[in-house]
Structure formats: C-alpha cells, structure tokens
C-alpha cells in the first residue's frame, strides 16, 4: 500500500509539474514578451489559453500536499519545517500569481493591468524555482527527520537545489511555449504560432543543455543521487526523458502540436520517475525509507481506494470533459491582444 500511495503521489506531482509548470512557464513568457504594446499579442494568447484551465491545473498541488501528509506524515512534517523558507516563498508566489492573473482582465487602466501583469509574471518564476530548490534539498539528502531539524538555508541554497530550481523554471517555459504554439494554431494566428514555436525550440535547446549541466552539478554535490540517476532504472528513465525531449523538438519542427503535448509530458514524467528511482528506497535519502515514513495500512488503503473510486470515477471523466472542451476551442473567448481593451 505504501508503494501504491507513492505511485499516486508521483502521478499527482507529474500532473502538477506538467500542467501547473506550463502555466508558470507561460508567466515567464508574459514577463519577457516586451513592452505593453509589443508584448500585447503574446500576452493576449497566454491569458486566453490559461483562463479556463489554470485553476484545475493548480489543484494538483493541494491534492499532492494532502496525499503526502496523509500517506507520509513524518516525511511531510520534516520537509515542511526544514524547507520553510522556499515553501513560504512559494505560497506567497502562489497567492500573487493566482490573484494577479484573475484580477488582470478586470483592471481599470492599462497601468493597473501592467502592475498586475508584473506580479503575475514575476511570481510565476518564483514559484517553480522555490519548488525545484525544495526538491533539490530533499534529493540531495539535506532534509533530516525532525521538526525543522535541517538547516533553514543550506537545505535549499546549495548547488543541487539551485540547479533543479533553474531547471524547473526552464522546463515550465519549454512546456508553455510548446502548448501555446498549438493554441495559437487553433486560434488561427500564424504569426503568433511562428513566434511561440521559435521560443519553444530555443527553450527546448536551453533546457536540454541545462539538464546535462545539472547532472554534472549533482555528480559533485550529491554523488548518491548521481549514481542512482546513472545506473539501472534511473538511467533508463533519464535516457527515456532525453529521448522524449528530442522527439518533442522534432515534433515542434514539424508542428505536430497534439503529439507535442504528449511527448513533452512524457519527458517530465520520466525525470520525476527517474528521481524516485534514483533515491529508492528512501523518501528522505538515508534518513527515512518509504516504509518507515508510510502511514498505517488502514489509512493508505482508504486513500488508495478513494483515489480509485473518486479519482477514476469522478475526477478523470471531469478532466477529460474539460480538456476536450478546451482543446476543441469550446471554452475559448475571442482572441484579442491583451492591451486592446484598455486602448479603446
């Protein structure tokens, strides 16, 4: 049951990394789109794409938290108390990102919209970095068991954390550009499709390069993690991720946007599964194994059972309905550059 719960948790983490990560990546593109006039086209596309789905994409996060504190309570308590600096940072970023994004369409003036846009975009970079840094701290064995037992700073300000943090931001940007290019095609905006496609290719190349560099950093900073990632199942998954990453680049070149969504999600899933495989059998490397950290069997059974019943019976069909409506353009509002409504 511990393994089943871990699997469900990793699924939730993957879904959040892909869907939530892409939304944060869209924030990065919003940030780098240029001045209010020049960036209006890209920002209009970003807002139109994210609006109907960002909340559903975000809910994977509280869902994951709940799974962890119910299924692995000591792991959860130890991680939250030691890594409180990046995690409080992430919570502040989450509030600002969500609220600023929800409020921006209702801004009274272009000036207000720009302030809200900046809050949305900057926090979209902050949140994935914080989460990546926290993951780096866990994976490199810097979180001991206990109430704030680890160092409040070096647990997340270390080479592995910084490498994973940067990788998280870049991977989100890559996903976002790839998804947005597909949305631009659906919208019938070839110029936007072209521009986001270029961004996707650039971000893909940079993400790949940084991923290789990150592996080198991990080799020096967290040897056990490196060994796990370069042998056995870990290695297979890392190679799988690399292969899917290259496949995604080829699909972007040939503008197969539906397939791009699948292969890029697969690449992220492989990285997360590879991390899990690399630090097997530990939740907190060398301090807490999956079995030591797992809750009692009655709770885990109830949790996995409710996932089977509600997750597969209610949630999955609902998600399918939502994404089908979205991908067929049924929930799209008419496209307009973001600044249009304040310039009339």
């Amino acid at each position: 049951m511990a393994e089943a719960t871990l699997l469900v948790s990793l699924l939730a983490l993957t879904a959040y990394a892909v869907l939530g990560g892409a939304d944060f990546g869209a924030g990065l593109w919003d940030l780098t789109a240029g001045g209010a006039r020049r960036g209006a086209a890209a920002r209009g596309l970003i807002e139109r794409s994210m609006t109907p789905v960002w909340e559903a994409n975000h809910v994977w996060l509280p869902f994951l938290l709940v799974l962890l504190w119910t299924g692995f309570p000591r792991f959860f308590g130890s991680v939250m108390s030691t890594l409180y600096v990046p995690l409080f940072g992430a919570t502040a970023g989450i509030i600002l990102r969500g609220a600023a994004f929800a409020f921006r369409p209702h801004a009274a003036t272009l000036g207000q919209a720009r302030v809200l846009g900046a809050a949305f975009a900057l926090s979209s970079v902050l949140v994935p970095f914080c989460f990546g840094a926290a993951v780096g701290g866990i994976a490199s064995g810097r979180v001991p068991v206990g109430n704030a037992a680890g160092d409040a700073w070096s647990s997340w300000l270390n080479p592995t954390s910084i490498a994973v943090g940067i990788l998280a931001v870049l991977a989100g940007a890559y996903l976002a550009a790839a998804f947005l290019a597909g949305d631009a095609q659906r919208t019938g905006e070839p110029a936007l499709e072209h521009a986001t496609r270029r961004r996707a290719l650039g971000a893909g190349a940079i993400t790949g390069a940084v991923a290789i560099a990150a592996l080198a950093v991990v080799r020096f900073d967290a040897r056990a993690l490196y060994d796990g990632l370069t042998s056995g199942l870990g290695l297979a998954l890392v190679l799988g991720s690399a292969g899917l990453g290259i496949a995604t680049l080829l699909l972007i070149l040939t503008r197969r946007w539906m397939l791009v969504r699948l292969t890029s999600a697969g690449a992220v899933a492989c990285v997360i599964a590879g991390w899990a495989a690399a630090q097997q059998p530990y939740l907190l490397p060398t301090a807490l194994t999956v079995h030591q950290g797992a809750a009692n069997d009655a709770t885990l059974t109830a949790l996995v059972l409710s996932f089977g019943v509600f997750g597969l019976g209610v949630l999955l069909p609902s998600l399918i309905v939502l994404y089908r409506l979205v991908l067929r353009g049924r929930l799209d509002k008419p496209y307009e550059p973001l600044d249009a409504r304040w310039r009339t």
Partner: protein
Amino acid sequence: MTAGLAALAPSLGPVDQEHLFWARELQAMSFIFHIPLVCFGVAFPAMVLFVEALGLRTRDDTYRALAKRWSKAMAVLFAVGVVTGTILSFELGLLWPEFTAKFGEVFGLAFGLEGFSFFTEAIFIAIYVYGWERLSPRLHLLAGIPIVITGVTGSLMVISVNGWMNHPVGFDVATNGSITNVKPWTALFNPNFWHEFVHMYVAAFMVAGFLVAAIYAVAWLRGERTHYVRIAMVVPLAVAALASPVQVLVGDWAGREVARYQPTKLAALEGAYRTESGAPIHIGGYYDGKGVEFGIPIPMLLSLLAEHDPSATIHGLEKVPERNRPPVNVVRFAFQTMVGIGTALALLGTLFVVTWWRHGRLPRSRWFYRAVIAAGPASLLALICGWVTTEVGRQPWIVYELMRTEQGVTNAGGLPLVFFAMLAVYLALTVLAVGVVRRLAARPPEAELGAAEAA
C-alpha cells in the same frame, strides 16, 4: 483519553515554543481571509443556478444577465479562494508539522476526499463560467450542478477534520506514545461532524445571502428600483432570511453537543467557574478568573439551553487545572457577539418572510433596507466570531485533550516576518477583490446580453 497525554511522544522530536504566538496569529489570519470565500463557494453557486433556471423558465433575459454577472464574480472569488485555500494546506505543514506528522494519517483521509471535491469544483466552474455562449442553455445549467454539490462536499470534509480536532476518535495511543489501530472512516465521521457542518452550511447561506443582498440594497435605497436590482436583492435576501431563524435551532443543537462532549468549552462560553445546578447566563460583563463581573444574569438559562432542563448541573472551569482552560474572555466575547448578531439576523429574516407571506410584497420602511445593508458585514462578523468561539474554545489543545497546541508548532524561525508579509498580501488581495467586484457591478446589466450577441 486524557491518560494518553503523558505518553504522547512527539513524532519529530522536542518542540521550541517561542513561535507559538505568531504561528497562531498567522493561522487565524489565513482563516479569516479564507472563510468568507468558503461561504461564497458553498452558497453562491446555488443562487446563481437558481436565477439561471428562473431565466430558462420565464424566458426573461434579466435573469440570464444577472446569473451571468454573478458567475463572473463567482469566478473571481473562486480564484482567490483557490489560492487562499492552498495557503491553508501549506500552513498545516509549515506551522504545525508535529500535528500533521503525528495525526496526518488519522485525519488526512477527509482532506483527500476534499481534494477530489475541490478538483471537480474547479473543473466545472471553468466549464460553467466560460461556457455561457458555447453550451446549450440546458447543458450549461447542468454543468453548474456539480459546482453546487462539490461546494458542499468540500466544506463538509474540511469541517470533518475540525470536528475531529474537537473530538478525536478513530485511533488508539500505544503505551510508547505512538498512534495505532487507526480507523480513518471512524475519524472522518466523528460525532462533532454533523452539527458543525450544518451550523457552517446554514451560516454560509446567511453570509453569502446577506452580503449580496446588502450590495443591492444600497442601490435600492439610492432609488435604482429596476427589475434587475429587485431580483438581485430579493433572491439572496430570501435565502438568508429563511436560513437565519433555522440557524437559531441549529445553534441550540450545536450548544448541546458542546455541553455533552466539551464541558470545559461550554463553561468558557459563559465564564462559569463553579460547577452548579440551575446555572445562569450573564449578558455582557467580563470573566475575572472566578466568575463573571458586571454581567446581567439570567437565572437557570445556561442549564436550560445546554441540557433543556433548568436545574441541570453544569460543569464549571474549576473542574480542570488552570493550564487546561481556554482564554475565557476571548471565547465568551466572541460567543456573545455571535449569538447577539445571530438573534438580530433571525428577527430581520423573520420580518422579511412574514411581510412577504402576509402582504406579498417587500417591506416598505427604508430602515429595513438599512438593516439589510448592516446585516451583510454583521453576518460575516458573526461567522468569524463563531469560528473564534470553537477554535479558541478548544485551546490549549490542538487535538482535544490529547495534544497541546504548543506541542504541534514548528521550530522554524522568522514567523513574525512571514506574518507581516502575508498580512500585506491579504490586505492587497482584499482591496483588489472588492475593487474588481465593484467594477463588475458598475457595468450596466445589458452589457452581459450584449456580449451574448457578439459572441
């Protein structure tokens, strides 16, 4: 159950108590900003759907315009609720890691189910809000029904956890202090669950109803007596007016449950120090450590309310050592404020229902509408006071009579800084949310139908 206390070993090691104050303040602040949004999550979708359904039946476009306008406000409030709710789930770990590490496996299932509910709600809110012009009217109305259901089931699950903290069941404490024999479903359906849920559910309809009605009562008093304003005021007002008298009965039920399971909390509600039969209730005054000073006593009322027997014996605070008593004046003041406002709202609601029933019209007095405007913020205040009553009344326990709040708190530093940063964020959020809702309301209602033609 109390025997378990000494044996209850901390799960993550010894605790530093220095941050207890700030952790509490931060948690309380986060709840205060989130709870009004919960009310809208529970009660508002039902009102929006009701108006939309009326529009479908009467083919009157005013209803459709109103439902569409409300759904936009609902979307904004839901978005803010999503993020403030996420913060709460973070804080359970960030502020109370010992609590989640020790008991997460007991109470966590409810939050897991809440997760599914929240998820489904987010999905259907998106379909509902962005599907106005894209789905057929019937399908659109159907897409709203899951929102109504999940708004209720989600809060149901969260309240189950609160009920459990007040009445922890579904596990044993072993002699070495570890938690064994966990029965997650027993914990989920703990005895506090039903009355807390019904109390909050009815409160949500009162708060959302009176707040929305208050907005349109302002317009009504300004002379904007259009068909649109009339519907927008009467629907939420009717909901709140029907809920308010019911809440008096539910409150009585909740009070008797507290008397049964948490006699110390009941004693704190009144400031009853001595155990006595035929205990009085004092209105006003303050608790000085030995009883209530300067209050107006009403003989035997506490016994009557708590046990439905004027001579029943009520356990006083003297029954427990001083360190196990909650801060009586805070609890008592919050409780009296809640009951006072609740009673006034019940009278206001009854007045509205009686006028409607007997004369088939709205009350004519301008004072009635002024009272409705006051009822909006007052109902919110009563709601917060109710939560203060139950949560501060539970102190010094985070898990009633089993884990003290200071045993649950984090050892991490920097909490004052976090508190003030979050306060700034929440205040900005409140100002922006109010501004956005006002801007939405300022547009003429026809704008909603105009958009329909354009799309």
